[in-house]
């Protein structure tokens, strides 16, 4: 008997729509393989992460340009329920921030040069800190810190080398047309961000 394949075309859909479609389809079930075609890198990364979380086998086929076709085969164990969010296995150290959320490329209101200066200083200081958060999440203009030519790039890379996961909001990168210039860390989506923020103590800055 041929395996039942469900086909989704998510080309042209803004992030996180493709992910939502895939989650919904997987929750519904009734197929052996889910084939989903996407055309933006952020959606592709989201789907790959989601597939790993949902314990699906993934086959990837590059179509053309940024287009690619992902074939997800559920392992049959437990398919994730809608609303369930990927969370990290290990608990944060008591009293320490698990996540630093950076929601702007500067700290505080007021003069923009000063705000940016403070943010650069903050990220440098983090690299000298003994205790690090598990993740740094960049949103809105905060994603500018992680792109080519950013004065904070070297410091974010240092943090990454020390095991901190650097995650940039895919919607924000796309909004500012910076997706192609991301130079450190990965791309994430609102589901993952919400999951991470609820996972442990969070410090918000920016």
């Amino acid at each position: 008997m041929n395996p039942i394949c469900r086909v989704l075309d998510a080309r042209g859909l803004p992030c996180p729509q493709p992910l939502i479609l895939a989650r919904k389809a997987l929750a519904e079930g009734g197929f052996d393989m889910l084939e989903i075609t996407v055309d933006d890198p952020a959606s592709r990364e989201n789907l790959l992460k989601f597939a790993a979380y949902a314990k699906c086998q993934v086959e990837e086929e590059r179509v053309e340009g940024a287009q690619c076709r992902l074939r997800l085969t559920p392992s049959g164990a437990s398919s994730p329920q809608a609303g369930e969010i990927p969370t990290c296995a290990s608990a944060p150290e008591a009293g320490r921030a698990a996540v630093v959320l950076i929601a702007a490329d500067g700290i505080g209101q007021g003069d923009l040069d000063l705000a940016r200066l403070l943010m650069r200083g903050f990220l440098y200081t983090l690299t000298e800190s003994e205790h690090l958060p598990r993740r740094v999440i960049l949103m809105n203009s905060g994603v500018r810190l992680a792109i080519k030519g950013s004065g904070s790039l070297a410091n974010l890379k240092k943090l990454e080398d020390r095991g901190v996961e650097i995650l940039s909001c895919g919607t924000c990168l796309e909004f500012y047309k910076l997706t192609d210039t991301l130079a450190v860390g990965g791309i994430t989506n609102m589901y993952e961000i919400a999951g991470h923020l609820l996972e442990g103590p969070t410090v918000s800055i920016g």
């Binding site: 200066l117 650069r120 200083g121 440098y124 690299t127 000298e128 003994e130 070297a154 020390r162």
Partner: protein, 82 residues
């Protein structure tokens, strides 16, 4: 050689950063470390090579030698530089 240069104000530190970068030096603007005395909260880490005179010209008020952290440590140390 990596030196830390302090300035009278953040504005001067920012201006010096531009001057030194324009001269081709590697510069990083960082918050003034606890060990270092300065009237302003930001200073510059500068790889001066043989362009020490540029630091004076940039308006530096104080100069400190930088000791990189030992393995397993993350904080740099600083000693006054004559």
């Amino acid at each position: 050689m990596l030196l830390l240069a302090t300035y009278a104000s953040s504005h001067e530190a920012l201006r010096a950063e531009q001057i030194l970068k324009a001269a081709g030096l590697q510069v990083e603007l960082i918050p003034v470390p606890r060990q270092v005395k300065s009237s302003c909260g930001f200073c510059l880490l500068v790889d001066v090579q043989d362009h020490g005179h540029l630091l004076q010209e940039s308006g530096a008020k104080g100069l400190w030698r930088v000791k990189e952290p030992e393995p397993g440590q993350y904080r740099r140390n600083y000693e006054p530089h004559l």
